[in-house]
């Protein structure tokens, strides 16, 4: 549990971060809270000869809510997210999800940026961000570009981020309607056996919009367009729930691990999604 030797950098300017990434390419990685990367390094599953700590970069830990747009700096911690009063009103699903990530000690260090950028299918925020239709700002040698969360994830630990880019912030259109993040896990600190993020809009007793994403049920988070569509126009009754579940099950591709075999995970995914929809609907 001791990592291979590495050089440690703690630059104060983003330009210096980009320059280091350009210089070392694949041999360099940026680190936010370090709660995914450091364990990988200690297990020697990741060898990072050049580790660039982002803690000293200014301007990455702010939360702003303006004109229906929420912007969260990459270095905002899960703890910050949970305790931000404005955010709790503007996008309560973020708090509900963050409270289900590990334990308080991890949440003091773990960041939103690290959680979404690392590409670990077990992380909770990628699914939440897909549900909220967030966009990620990426800064690189050629300036800034943005990528939709729903287009960002390619495979486990593989994302649309180029090696020389840094994910600096997450932008979210203020969500409407009811919400829920439902997660089944074996214990505190575990990844989800299955988890579902749901935002749902109700008008005159009918669902007019629904957004659904699932966590840890494929090698990426799964934004299920079909599951959301199955609810729109319905009163979210049993038939609609079953249709949404069936649609979601068509999109996920879980693998067997110590949490259980595929059949179990699919069954639980359906149960968890139904509970998330029901809770979100009750809040809509």
């Amino acid at each position: 549990m001791i990592p291979a030797a590495f050089d440690y950098y703690r630059p104060t300017k983003m330009d210096d971060v980009i320059a280091l990434l350009q210089e070392h390419g694949d041999d360099a990685r940026v680190m936010a809270g370090g709660h995914s990367l450091i364990p990988m390094m200690k297990l020697r599953m990741a060898e990072i000869p050049h580790l660039i700590d982002l803690q000293a970069i200014d301007g990455l830990n702010e939360i702003s809510i303006e004109d229906g747009q929420i912007t969260i700096g990459a270095m905002v911690t899960q703890h910050d997210l949970i305790n931000h009063a404005g955010l709790e009103a503007a996008a309560p699903i973020l708090r509900e999800a963050a409270l289900q990530i590990a334990d308080p000690q991890v949440r003091y260090m773990g960041t939103v940026g690290g959680n979404v950028a690392n590409g670990d299918p077990g992380n909770d925020m990628p699914g939440v961000m897909q549900c909220l239709d967030a966009t990620f700002a990426l800064v690189g040698p050629d300036g800034e570009r943005s990528v939709a969360a729903r287009d960002f994830y390619e495979a486990a630990y593989m994302t649309a981020r180029e090696d020389e880019e840094v994910l600096t912030s997450v932008s979210i259109p203020a969500p409407q309607g009811g919400y829920a993040y439902e997660k089944q896990k074996r214990k505190i600190g575990d990844y989800a056996t299955a988890a579902a993020a749901v935002q749902i809009v109700k008008e005159d007793g009918k669902c007019t919009a629904a957004s659904i994403a699932m966590t840890n049920l494929s090698d990426t988070p799964i934004y299920s367009v079909d599951a959301g569509a199955a609810l729109v126009g319905t009163a979210v009754d049993a038939a609609a729930l079953n249709a949404a579940k069936a649609a979601m099950l068509g999109n996920i591709d879980p693998t067997e691990d110590n949490r259980g075999p595929v059949a179990f995970k699919k069954h639980v995914a359906g149960v968890i999604l139904a509970r998330a929809i029901e809770r979100a609907w009750s809040r809509a």
Binding site: Q184, R186, V271
Partner: protein, 809 residues
Amino acid sequence: MKDEVESRDDRVANLKGMGCSRKRVEDARFTQGKGNYVDDIKLDGMLFGDFVRSPYAHARITNINAEEALKVPGVLAVLTAADLEPLGLHWMPTLAGDKQMVLADGKVLFQGQEVAFVVAEDRFAAADGIEAVEVDYEELPVIVDPFEALKTDVVLREDLVAQDGSIPDGAHGPRTHPNHIFTWEAGEKEATEQVLDNAEVLVEESMYYHRTHPCPLETCGCVASMDKVNGKLTLWGTFQAPHAIRTVVSLISGIEEHNIRVVSPDIGGGFGNKVGAYPGYVCSVVASIVTGKPVKWIEDRMDNLMTTAFARDYHMTGKISATKEGKITGLHCHVTADHGGFDACADPTKFPAGFMNICTGSYDIPTAFLEVDGVYTNKAPGGVSYRCSFRVTEAVYFIERMVEVLAIELGMDAAELRRINFIKKEQFPYKAALGWEYDSGDYHTAWDKALTSVDYDGLRAEQAQRVEDFKAGKTRKLMGVGLSFFTEIVGAGPVKNCDILGLGMFDSCEIRIHPTGSAIARLGTISQGQGHATTFAQILASEIGLPADSITIEEGDTDTAPYGLGTYGSRSTPVAGAATAMAGRKIRAKAQMIAAYLLEVHDNDVEFDVDRFVVKGAPEKFKTMKEIAFAAYNQAIPGIEPGLEAVSYYDPPNMTYPFGAYVCVMDIDVDTGVPEIRRFYALDDCGTRINPMIIEGQVHGGLTEALAVALGQEIAYDDMGNVKTGTLMDFFLPTAWEVPNYETDHTVTPSPHHPIGAKGVGESPHVGGVPCFSNAVHDAFRAFGLRQTNMPHDHWRIWKTANELGLHD
């Protein structure tokens, strides 16, 4: 004078003796980060050693090349079996009478096995050195199933097969197959079979008590320091039995015992994991001898989970017979015990399956037979008693499941079935069919108190309603009422039948009273968190009348403490606690003579009263123990040596038999497999209670480890012998979040043969807790036809049970 205004109650309270919830004296340092654990030890020039470990579960080693490793900056040496062989240290004896490779001698038998020992200036260089050692492996067929091991042609231990292909006897008698270790029997085979054959009711059931691990928060480790000038070896380490380690080190190294000092500093939990001797200790000692410098070895979490002493891994098949009315008439138990690649169980020599023969439990079963087959597989060695006396968790789980299964067969309430079969109070001392003599018990009183406390009838009515509601589609949650009644067998033990490697399992206490009336007592045990410094001082306070706060308790340094066999199997209070009381009584006997001299009366005319000796019939005439202590050193008393010291070595006449009654109420989400513990009630009878607060803490801890084992904690292997649960992501270690609120209760049935009537409590909650949690899961599905499903009851296994019972249709 102050004493004259103090009431007797005040004087008793001042002592903080037995029965009071004295706060733990250890906690001042632990809560401030001032403990001194083995990894806190830093010596000048200290080196660090760590292992190259096998990625394969079964393979031949064709070559080890350390050339590149030796080029890594800071790496000083790479030891292999070839280096240890000239010293005769490439293999070492195990506690179970087998031998174990210190470093791989031509082959490896389990994943994570120690292959080479890299010695470096610091642990970082050692880690880099490990990566650079090149080992060529030739993979062999992997055997992870003990039943297959007894059929296969694949021989795991070529060293245990004679050249002509015959199979020599092992340490515990004849072996039937190259991968067979022993067969151990207890009870009457033919008589039992006859009872079972003629039974009115007979049930057979098989169950697997899965492999798990004690997982103490502090992993195993040591610092070895060989002083070549004066020839003395000092070995600090996480040893639950420091004196036994000293003797073993002496026997295998040839260093005379007086030149070895073994020290157990603060230990962060043991739970059996720190009883045995590990290759890391041997390699550290050798490396220190070779380099002339201190060498530290500390396991990381994966090393600990994958390689040092696992627990359980018992495949058990039972047959239980009864009359139609439910009176149990016979019990048969067969165990296939998976011991891994070497037999490194930590059991008394004559008990290769520990005290598994306590498996008739708390019941008056006239006829029984037990047979255990030990088997080698390609898994890590061990088989320690994880928070229990030797194999008692397995025994109690077995009988508490068999009773439940019998209740199902009879269509009886499981609480009532237990009640009609309990050993009755008037039957004690009770000679059990498998050989043990239970010292004392009052099971019916405890059971009735437990059932009344939880409103058992009310729970059953609620459960019946829940089943109706479930069937009517009104709920998706089932309710389980888990019961368990256990009898522990602790305090090993009488030297006439308990030894480890020939070392008798007595224990000891040595007391010195200082002239000003304070004291130091040293014991042969070693606390790993049990609070010995608190509780042993309480025993002494009550015995010798000096305040517990004025008594220092010291353990773990073999240069100063009297010889003893250490702390495991709840033996500290039953054995060393008895030695403490007996040594205290020797002090008191001398104090009585001194008091009589000072009071100018005959010895028999004074009597002990809390903290003093008083003249009989004239309580205003007295000498306090403090005054007596001063006189003992400073006054010439005819016929009495100066000083006030005593030592006692206590060989217990019998084990002690703590017992308890537990009830768990659990709600189970049928659709997700998630169990929720609504209530847990634990009644413990550990005899005389020394410190109720510490007892409660022990019960909470043992129950939490029971919850872990029952609901998810396991060391699982795949078919290739890869450990699937080698990190805390997958190995379940409960936190405050997963743990329910425990309700504790007690009855008091003192041990008749123990000087203060105490029985030991540290392990009871684990022994009784595991079947209680498991029975709750089973009970939830009883109405739907479930008889037996194996632990750990994690979400998916519970879900699978529900699924197979058709509850998802």
